[in-house]
Amino acid sequence: MSLNPFFLQGSPNEQYLVQDLINEQLKIYGVEVYYLPRKIFKTDNIIREIQSSKFDDVFLMEAYINNYDGYAPDSDIMTKFGLRLKNEISLTISREKYEEFIAPFLEGLSSGIREGLITEYDFADLITRPKEGDLIYFPLGERLFEIKRVESEKPFYQLGTNYVYELSCELYEYENELIDTAIEEVDNTVEDEGYITSLILAGVAATATATATVGTGAISKIFLNNDGSGYTSTPTVTFSDPPSGVGTVTAKAIAITTSRANVQSILRLELTNGGSGYTTAPTITITGGGGTGAAATCAVGSSSVNTITLTNKGKGYSVSPLVTIGGPVTGVSTATGIANLDDDGKVDSVNIINPGVGYTVAPTVTIAGVTTVGFGTFVYNETITGQTTGVTAVVRDFRRDSTTSTIDPTINLRVALNTGKFGAGEVIVGSISSARYVVRSYNTESYDNPYDVNEEIETQADNIIDFTESNPFGSY
């Protein structure tokens, strides 16, 4: 037995007609969605998963929404991992449209990889149909869906062939994949999602200035004879008083601590005031800070630099600038100082490391200017590179916060997909905008992600946990 030969069970022309009617229906009743094919960076063939991918191509196509009555109820569920959305959508797209308008472009990518012209990523060699794992941007609600399953035989072989693909999709589980299609509404779906870190950049710059005074009978040198150990906080440094008299001033200093191999000791003593009127070297007492053993002595010279006063704090500094103090005419010993910055990039104080000897007049103090002043505007999704660390990241948001200051606004940059940690003081450069700024500070805490409370836990734990040695899991 065979089919009736006097009837056609689907001639090509009938099939074309049905396909055209379906295409027409989709154009009338469908919605425009974007199709984003997955490009693969790394596949692990042992545990069999694609571990890293990006989506930077996009194809517009019309699709009919099968679940016209909306998403299933209770698509948002509370889990032990917070909120999880399980919105599902079923879309019907034209087979002919896919094969004629999308597949040829994908074939171009595929052949580029085969011929070695594209080496950055891999691409599944399957181009003749929409693939599971690819993304659909659905404009109603601006959602990003991942294709879970492609059905090609529904309706079942009308006139001997199939005309549509039915795509079963579920909301995308995002894991810092790069989505850079140049279609703003698509790229912005993940603008605030994933692990985003923030940098504060140095903006307007001004050079700090300072003056020095010279004192007779001032401290001319400090000798740190023993750096001690166990100084978990800064100890207090006190000098004995000079003999009473007119114009005598007690010297003051601060201790700078350091840590090597988990031993906290004193690195050096910095004079904030060299004092005056000493006839013999005063005694130095170092107390507190949780440590023991530190001891220092000092010498008193005829006339040394005893104070450095800031006349202009400057701004825009990200690293401590070099301080140069003019030498004495006698040429005995030139004073040296060090600048300390506050959180706003201004010079907070200049301390004396070596007061020098033999000054007859107050020397000039020169504080180095800011070497790089930031300029330009970073653009979304461009890559920035740290010029010192070599760390790269992708820009998510760049803005000047004029509410803090209209003259010198705080400049915030938020980035994702970091290859490491940016260092304070390094220059970052944008790959597209060529914008160039100095990093004032870098915060590794996840920005504006309500789920991540890592830092809050750490802050509260700092008050109650005694990590006398160190936290083996790392710390902020």
Binding site: F41, K42, I47, E49, Q51, S52, D76, M78, K80, F81, G82, L83, R84, L85, K86, N87, E120, Y121, E132, E142, R143, L144, K148, R149, S168, E170, L171, Y172, E173, Y174, E175, N176, L178, T189, V190, E193, G194, Y195, N418, T419, T444, S446, N449, P450, Y451, D452, V453, N454, E455, I457, E458, Q460, A461, N463, I464, I465, D466, N471, F473, Y476
Partner: protein, 266 residues
Amino acid sequence: MLGTYFYHEIIRKTIISFGTLFNDIYIRHTKSNANLDETKVGLSYGPMQKFLTKIQEQEQLTKSIAVTLPRMSFEMTRISYDPTRKTGITQTFKSVEVGSSKIKKVFMPVPYNIEFELNIFSKLNDDALQIIEQILPFFQPSFNLTVDLVSSIGEKRDIPIILDSIDFQDDYEGSFQTRRALIYTLRFTAKTYLFGPIAESSDGLIRKVQADISSGTDTSVAKREMRYVASVDPITASPEDDFGFTESWTFLPDSKDYSPTRQEDI
């Protein structure tokens, strides 16, 4: 009957201490040009008010994506008495209130085990493996934390966190309409201590000790021969002060006895 209000936040502190072990874990992925990008794994305490979850995590009701991964959560699952660490129920110790010189009387704490679950939710098996491999080597099978359990008296206790078990769920089988879920569950026990109310002690600080030494054990017959006195120097010193000690030995052939009530030799 019980009724004395006190709240040292010990269980809360134990939760925070447990959480801080896992709040700085990163994973890495290969991206273009063989660069590795770093992701800090988000951590939260799992149980949460439902409405707060909605308004925090879904400010815009049309959220674009399902969830960001990987992420971890932890939660307390059980509190049980630990009889193996039981101490005498009437035993007390004295402590000094932090920031003052008041003596506090504290009953020995009651040993409790608090069980925790750390859950790791990831999209990739590799992510989960990176995370647990950064955790497991530190537990043999316990890791000690020193926690200031009662801050008012600065009572620091070592709390061992013991890794009890590691399970994972990998729902990769079944219909393609359901998504693969990859969840690792690590169970831990924290051996903590619960303190009862802390009362002010009527006792004062011991600043001076005096002992009269007799030539025999029968004090009705044997009279004292020597007196040993040890005191802090200066005698008015408080616990937080920098003080020394003074010792003195005195030869006393006077055959008298010391009256503690009259505080003189009679």
